[in-house]
């Protein structure tokens, strides 16, 4: 009887042996055409480009000369569809299907297609190599940097880069307590918005009473303008899985869930495939790598509810109930999913774990600021030249992100404000551009880190309209359980709408402030208690705009249609 071939890896030694054989089977000097197949580039027509390359390479019998890799997002969404020629890392931007033939023929000859290179808007010069593009220069791409070397549907790419070495080290060279100690020492704080020290959370969960424990990956990335988690799951799902397995081992959990937004189709596809492959190779399931540790991961899809990004609402949804949050007087690490100790972390938090285990907490804690270690991925959008995903060390200034990396404001307009942290975050005005971006500094000025969305606004944005936009969003997403949030957001929305329609009254600002105080103090969950942030920060920094709408029935930014209303 023929022996059935299996991919299952049964020991750390086998893992290293397989890794070596994968690396040996690859020629690092072989030219590889890397095409971004992330959602952003796909929406810009990357499908044509991908199909074109496949066809041209096959037609020309060039498979041996040119490798083709479809990857996750390399971050420079503004200039997509993106193509990188490796190993030189030549960057081609805004590539169309019609450009494919030329790229193939020139690349085979060792030439560069000048017209597709990025042009530096300041110098007017063409830039050939990815690392020299200003957008990438100031970034520190610890998490995103691997994206262009990984086909997310191919686990062997991840293994070739050292994937699952951290897991092997954690299972065989470290104890659960040692792992937790290392994560604590690294200073890693939750990347979902709470900023709670991950290691401390893990420790509480490990110490909690109960034989059945759960780990959850929160991929219900609901903040408009945030696509960090989407990118990580689309482009490098194994990094997240590896982090979860290590965490589960440290905590003593044997069942994990990834709760992912239903709208993230591609991320869901890649994650599903990654789990399947991880199971095939023995990184998930029973007796992982021969360690005796069992752990499986299930995927649960969201149903279109922002509130399910809140941990207790998420867990309710995982139990087949409506996504209603509950009070957290008893933390979920003690009583969470099905009343069992549960450790929930964000996608980006999990993705940082293999890094910390591989390179050590000492190294990790040299990156970032005093209170916020490591890097943070931000999704830049709005009135900015370089929309996309940027990964920077914590503590970099807002100015550097917006101007040096983001390329400044289009059409030479003036920067007005940046909204960080989504609808529960605050607007940061021009006067605070030198603010170092980290958890505590953002909180000091009335905003939050949130999941990393950063929306830039210019002089043509009306700040009252933005406040109204965020409150409307939250009003629609409120679960409706508690009175302050359900009724309060409804009334805030009515007042802000009236103001933007020229029906504002004296006393409206005071009323908004009174409502805000009640929401902050008495809402059941963070959706309600952070909802006032955009309103309060816009009142704080842009009060004159509110007053112009109310007193003069005028929108300084020229956005609101203030019909002539007969004032009482």
């Amino acid at each position: 009887m023929a022996k059935r071939k299996t991919n299952r890896i049964n020991s750390p030694q086998e893992l290293e042996a397989i890794r070596e054989s994968i690396i040996k089977s690859r020629d690092p000097s072989q030219t590889c055409i890397v095409v971004c197949g992330g959602t952003g580039c796909l929406a810009l027509g990357a499908q044509d480009v991908i199909a074109g390359f496949r066809r041209k390479i096959q037609e020309g019998g060039l498979e041996k000369k040119l490798a083709l890799r479809i990857t996750g997002c390399p971050g420079f969404c503004e200039k997509g569809p993106l193509v990188v020629i490796k190993p030189e890392n030549i960057l081609y931007q805004q590539v169309r299907g019609e450009d494919v033939a030329e790229i193939v023929s020139e690349t085979v000859k060792g030439n560069i297609v000048d017209r597709l290179l990025y042009t530096d808007p300041d110098t007017g010069k063409k830039i050939t190599y990815e690392s020299e593009v200003p957008f990438y220069k100031k970034q520190k791409r610890l998490l995103l940097g691997d994206n262009s070397n990984i086909d997310p549907t191919e686990i062997r790419d991840y293994l070739a880069l050292g994937g699952y070495a951290a897991l092997s080290k954690a299972l065989f060279k470290m104890s659960p307590e040692k792992i937790i100690k290392e994560v604590k020492k690294s200073g890693l704080r939750g990347r979902g918005g709470g900023g709670f020290p991950a290691g401390v959370k893990w420790e509480s969960c490990r110490r909690a009473e109960g034989d059945t424990k759960y780990v959850i990956c929160n991929a219900e990335e609901g903040d408009p303008g945030a696509f960090v988690d989407r990118n990580l799951l689309e482009g490098n799902p194994h990094s997240v899985l590896e982090g979860m397995i290590i965490g589960a081992y440290a905590i003593g959990a044997h069942q994990g869930y990834v709760y992912i937004r239903n709208e993230y189709r591609l991320a869901l596809e890649h994650l599903t495939q990654a789990i399947k492959q991880a199971e095939e190779y023995g990184f998930l399931g029973e007796n992982i790598l021969g360690s005796g540790f069992d752990f499986t991961v299930k995927i649960s899809r969201g149903g279109g509810a922002y509130v399910c990004g809140e941990s207790t609402a998420l867990m309710a949804s995982l139990e087949g109930k409506v996504g209603e949050p509950r009070a957290k007087y008893i933390h979920t690490v003690e009583r969470g999913l099905w009343e069992q100790p549960t450790n929930l972390n964000n996608v980006e938090t999990w993705a940082n774990i293999p890094l910390i285990i591989n390179s050590g907490a000492n190294w990790y804690s040299t990156i970032g600021s005093e209170g916020s270690k490591g890097t943070k991925i931000f999704s830049l959008s709005g009135k900015i030249n370089n929309t996309g995903l940027v990964e920077v060390p914590m503590g970099i200034t807002l100015r550097e992100i917006i101007y040096d990396i983001g390329g400044g404001i289009p059409e030479d307009r003036k920067f007005k404000a940046a909204q960080t942290g989504g609808p529960g975050g605050g607007c940061i005005p021009e006067s605070l551009l030198n603010l170092p971006v980290d958890f505590d500094e953002l909180t000091k000025v009335g905003s939050v880190m949130g999941s990393g969305s950063m929306i830039v606004m210019d002089e043509t944005t009306c700040m009252v309209d933005m406040a109204r936009y965020f409150i409307n969003f939250l009003e629609r997403e409120s679960c409706g359980k508690c009175i302050p949030c359900r009724e309060g957001l409804k009334r805030m929305s009515q007042i802000l709408t009236d103001i933007t329609e020229g029906k504002g009254k004296d006393g409206d600002i005071g009323l908004l402030e009174r409502l805000s105080a009640a929401l902050i103090d008495s809402s059941l969950c963070a959706l309600g208690s952070t909802a006032p942030n955009p309103v309060l920060t816009t009142i704080r920094y842009f009060r004159d705009e509110y007053e112009a709408h109310i007193r003069d029935r005028r929108c300084p930014a020229g956005v609101c249609k203030l019909d002539a209303v007969i004032r009482k």
Binding site: G304, K321, G323
Partner: protein, 156 residues
Amino acid sequence: MKVKDKPAKQKVKSILGRYQGDPGMLVSVLQDVQAEYNYLPKEALVQVSQGLDIPLTQVYSVASFFKAFSLKPRGKHILNVCLGTACHVRGAVRILEEIERALGIKSGGTTKDLKYTLERVNCVGACALGPIVIVDGNYSGQMKSNKVKPLLESYN
């Protein structure tokens, strides 16, 4: 399509089997049911309630809580207009209004001929190309008011 028919009842049964009758998987079950029927028929929800052994009130509450679900039949083509912040800042509201005008329905509604359903959707993470309209999963970026009619006509 009536779920009381034998083949239709079997469809829901096989969906339930996919999740081993786990009541915690209710949302996923409902998603699969909606994928099958393009909305959530009442009879299907009754069957889900029986199959997962949970009260019908719970099934109905969950079905009406999550915006992904429609309790009314939806159109052949589903139009999603992204109203995320970046798209909003780039004029998504005007695009939505233009589509509402062209189809004669409001967002959340379906045309009388059951051809189109128009829904607003939260940020889909393609902010570089806002405003975005997604039709049957196909993204159209950098939408303008004058691109709306040609887009709709391409689905005739």
